[in-house]
């Protein structure tokens, strides 16, 4: 692909920093305290996994990065700094529009519902290209005219060239209303559509030119998931957030999609933030992992540290709840239930279910303390008051 010029990676190592994020949802019964002081740093070109059980706030964290939250979400305090610059939480809608899809893109959870059922798949992929690379697409449209010489080509080419130089001129406004002449608009779209076929090919879609013309309902779950990935990749973002990218597909398809994500991350130097409840997915593709429990971060560290040598009692319980093939030991699970976040436990939110709970645990929240290089734990067992 030629449209996108190489970006100069900034010197900053941390592509995204979330600082002390508190977030509530206002509901009829009161306020649900969903996020309770999230601190997370995402390094450039890494694959970071966020794991946790239903309702632990992992999806909310991801959505708050792109400010895709419901209207009843209230950010109490905190910062989300992207590429060392702007705080995403204060960014204007106009700035966000420039970032969404272009700098940070998201692969949504449900491939069934996050595609537009009335649009062809190819057009949905092309949408981002037209929005963020409008000028490139016009240039490509001009090339297309030169190559294929359709009727009225000289006129259309002329108008498109004007559009590049003076995007809002009066001539364009008039031209866009005259029959036949207004057809100049189709060439950038056609160019974007051809580009989208290439992107679909890149994500391993069989016969992408035919698939680009299909509607979402004609595709299987795995193929829809790949369309979503193609949409996320279209504008070559620096950071891709994948929210449960494989939870709606079968294992054989899951392997396919994970390999695809991993290869793309490696080739394009893209940072991947993967949100999942599946420890297997994390163990296979992540460099670092962050374990969340009830709106708090329990543990962060390299995958080997966290999964093979967990420190936090919750992570340990989680690991004892998962069966490894061939393992003869019994599963244990974790006693008790996930707290209701309308009235969450004070201090460390895990303490009512924790075997090692001490008196301090219910009184005060521990810090996210670094135990050894890069391995941080949010637990009183490893720190003093």
């Amino acid at each position: 692909m030629t449209i996108i010029q190489e970006q100069i990676p900034s010197q900053d190592e941390k592509i995204l920093v979330i600082k002390n994020l508190y977030l509530n949802f206002g509901v009829y019964q009161g306020t649900v305290k969903v996020l309770d002081g999230i601190d997370l740093e995402v390094e450039r070109a890494e694959v970071l996994g966020v794991v946790g059980e239903t309702g632990c706030g992992k999806t909310v964290t991801a959505r708050s990065i792109l400010r895709l939250l419901e209207a009843n979400a209230i950010v109490e305090k905190g910062e989300i700094i992207f590429e060392g610059g702007q705080n995403m939480l204060n960014a204007s809608e106009k700035d966000l529009e420039k970032i969404r899809g272009r700098k940070i893109s998201m692969i949504f959870q449900e491939p069934m519902t996050s595609l537009n059922p009335t649009m062809r798949v190819g057009d949905q992929v092309a949408e981002g290209l037209l929005l963020h690379f409008g000028e490139d697409m016009i240039k490509k449209g001009v090339e297309l005219i030169e190559k294929e010489k359709p009727p009225l080509s000289a006129l259309h080419k002329n108008i498109l060239e004007r559009e590049i130089n003076k995007p809002n001129s009066l001539v364009l406004k008039i031209a866009s209303r005259i029959p036949f002449i207004k057809r100049y608009q189709q060439y950038p779209k056609l160019a974007a559509r051809r580009e989208s076929v290439e992107i679909l090919r890149m994500v391993g879609m069989p016969s992408p030119d035919r698939i680009a013309l299909a509607y979402p309902h004609e595709l299987s779950g795995g193929m829809r998931q790949r369309v979503l990935i193609a949409m996320a990749l279209a504008c070559k973002p620096d950071l891709i957030i994948a929210d449960e990218p494989t939870s709606a597909v079968d294992v054989t398809t899951q392997a396919k999609i994970l390999l695809l994500l991993l290869n793309l991350g490696e080739q394009k130097n893209t940072t991947l933030l993967i949100i999942t409840h599946n420890i297997g997915v994390v163990a296979e593709i992540c460099d670092r992992v962050c374990v969340m429990y009830a709106g708090q971060i329990a543990e962060v560290g390299s995958v080997i540290d966290v999964i093979n040598h967990p420190l936090h009692p919750y992570t340990r319980g989680l690991m004892r709840s998962i069966h490894n093939i061939g393992d003869k030991s019994e599963l244990e699970g974790i006693e008790g239930n996930v707290p209701i976040l309308l009235s969450p436990p004070t201090g460390c939110r895990f303490h009512p279910r924790c075997q090692h709970a001490m008196s301090i645990c219910s009184k005060k929240k521990p810090e996210l303390k670094e135990i050894h290089k890069g391995h941080k734990v949010h637990c009183w067992m490893y720190q003093k008051e």
Binding site: V251, T252, Q254, L262, E284, N308, N324, G333
Partner: protein, 425 residues
């Protein structure tokens, strides 16, 4: 070897053209956990319901071996014929996937668990209450939960209630249809452990339906692997995990993510090409062959395979007509839009080249006829491979690869070598 409790013979369930369950046979032994694994849409849940006659089967027989009265000698009852079905319901029960929708939201827990006991007139009044409390304790809940509604409970607790209801009548056989897939892992572990404990305490036999191989490994003694309505392999769990025979089982196991980051397996995962076949119009021959990397000439290549191939490589240049879906006869003619001349030369060149390259799709072509500018292609007719006992006792596989090989040979060389021939072609 313990006795058989449940027998399924040539069971079929068609929903119109959709062959959800297509000629399935297996036996379940007393006290074992028999796993049924497959991907979504393969018909495993339908099978679980059909064998309990919750859905009427299209064809086939299901038997249960049990005694309905105490002291009576066990005999074989025909479930599909509906022989004393109401009494038999006490002996076989089911736990559904989603506890939120399988418990009546307008009933309190006492009534949910008590309903089967009342229907079968086991007890009433205070005695009934005692039994219910006892059941609650067995599934790890307390007496106080008696008066709650199901929506007041968490997902794990609801599933415990569903299990208590299922074991209320002292059944011998339980179908567990993905009982933990709606739950978080920490809760899932607890429920699986509960199910194991109950099996030991009440001497239960389970049919465990799941898509999760690690649950199969944790729970089951024997496993049946399903693909598009068919059982492709039945085996002891250990044997299956160590050396799967059917190429589909192999792919399924290799795609499983490792839970140890220091031993990643994803890079070695076998990636299946294409999509799962549609049960409404499955391909001819073995249903897995279009995606199988070991596929060879005997797999049952037909019109669908050639049609897919031609559409991929010739696009709109030709029009195609198959005699029927999954047939062995394909008609090809030049499409009206493009004139390619002469089509018969082109197609026969393609076939000859394919045969030269030893592509199984072309090797399986039996005849090629040119009638009035239309090319008729005939494939060797091959029926679907049967599930046959191979290698050792109680190991069944449905794959043409093994038909020509002796058990000795498969054992000696293992699947990788014995199927080498298939790989070459």
């Amino acid at each position: 070897m313990s006795e058989i409790i449940f027998e399924v013979e040539h069971l079929k369930k068609y929903f119109g053209p959709v062959k959800a369950v297509d000629d399935v046979s297996f036996k379940i032994r007393k006290g074992e956990t028999f796993g049924l694994v497959g991907e979504s849409g393969c018909g495993k849940s339908t099978l679980g319901r059909v064998i309990l006659k919750l859905i009427e089967p299209t064809e086939g027989k299901v038997y249960i071996h049990t005694s309905l009265r105490e002291g009576e000698r066990p005999r074989r009852y025909d479930i599909t014929a509906g022989e004393r079905l109401r009494e038999l319901r006490r002996k076989m029960q089911i736990v559904y996937q989603d506890p939120a929708s399988s418990l009546n939201p307008r009933m309190i827990i006492r009534d949910i668990i008590g309903e089967p006991l009342k229907v079968h007139k086991v007890a009433k009044g205070e005695k009934l209450q005692d039994i219910i409390v006892d059941l609650l304790k067995h599934v790890g809940m307390q007496e106080e939960h008696l008066w709650r509604y199901s929506y007041e409970l968490s997902g794990g607790q609801r599933q415990r209630i569903a299990i208590a209801r299922a074991i209320a009548l002292n059944p011998e056989f339980l179908v567990l249809d993905e009982p933990t897939s709606a739950l978080d892992v920490s809760v899932q572990a607890k429920i699986l452990k509960l199910l194991k404990d109950l099996q030991r305490d009440f001497n239960l036999t389970y049919l465990f339906i799941t898509h999760d191989m690690s649950i199969i490994d944790y729970m089951c003694d024997r496993v049946a692997v399903m693909y598009v309505g068919k059982i492709v392999e039945i085996s002891e769990k250990e044997l299956l995990f160590n050396e799967p025979l059917h190429p589909y089982s192999k792919a399924l196991l290799s795609a499983l993510p490792s839970k140890d980051p220091s031993k990643r397996t994803l890079a070695r995962a076998e990636i299946l090409s294409g999509e799962v076949a549609s049960p409404a119009n499955p391909p001819a021959g073995c249903k897995f062959h279009p995606r199988c990397k070991y596929a060879f000439i005997e797999c049952g290549w037909g019109s669908d395979d050639l049609a897919t191939y031609l559409r991929e490589y010739m696009g709109e240049k030709v029009s195609l007509k198959a005699a029927a879906k999954g047939s062995f006869h394909l008609e090809i003619w030049p499409s009206a839009r493009e004139v390619i001349n002469p089509i018969n030369v082109m197609i026969s060149d393609l076939v000859a080249k394919g045969k030269e390259q030893k592509k199984p799709l072309f090797e399986a072509i039996d005849g090629l006829k040119n009638v009035d500018g239309r090319i008729h292609i005939y494939f060797m007719e091959k029926s679907e491979p049967e599930l046959v006992e191979r290698v050792c006792k109680d190991r069944y596989v449905a794959c043409s690869l093994y038909e020509a090989l002796s058990d000795q040979k498969i054992l000696q060389k293992g699947i990788h070598q014995s199927t080498k021939k298939g790989e070459d072609t």
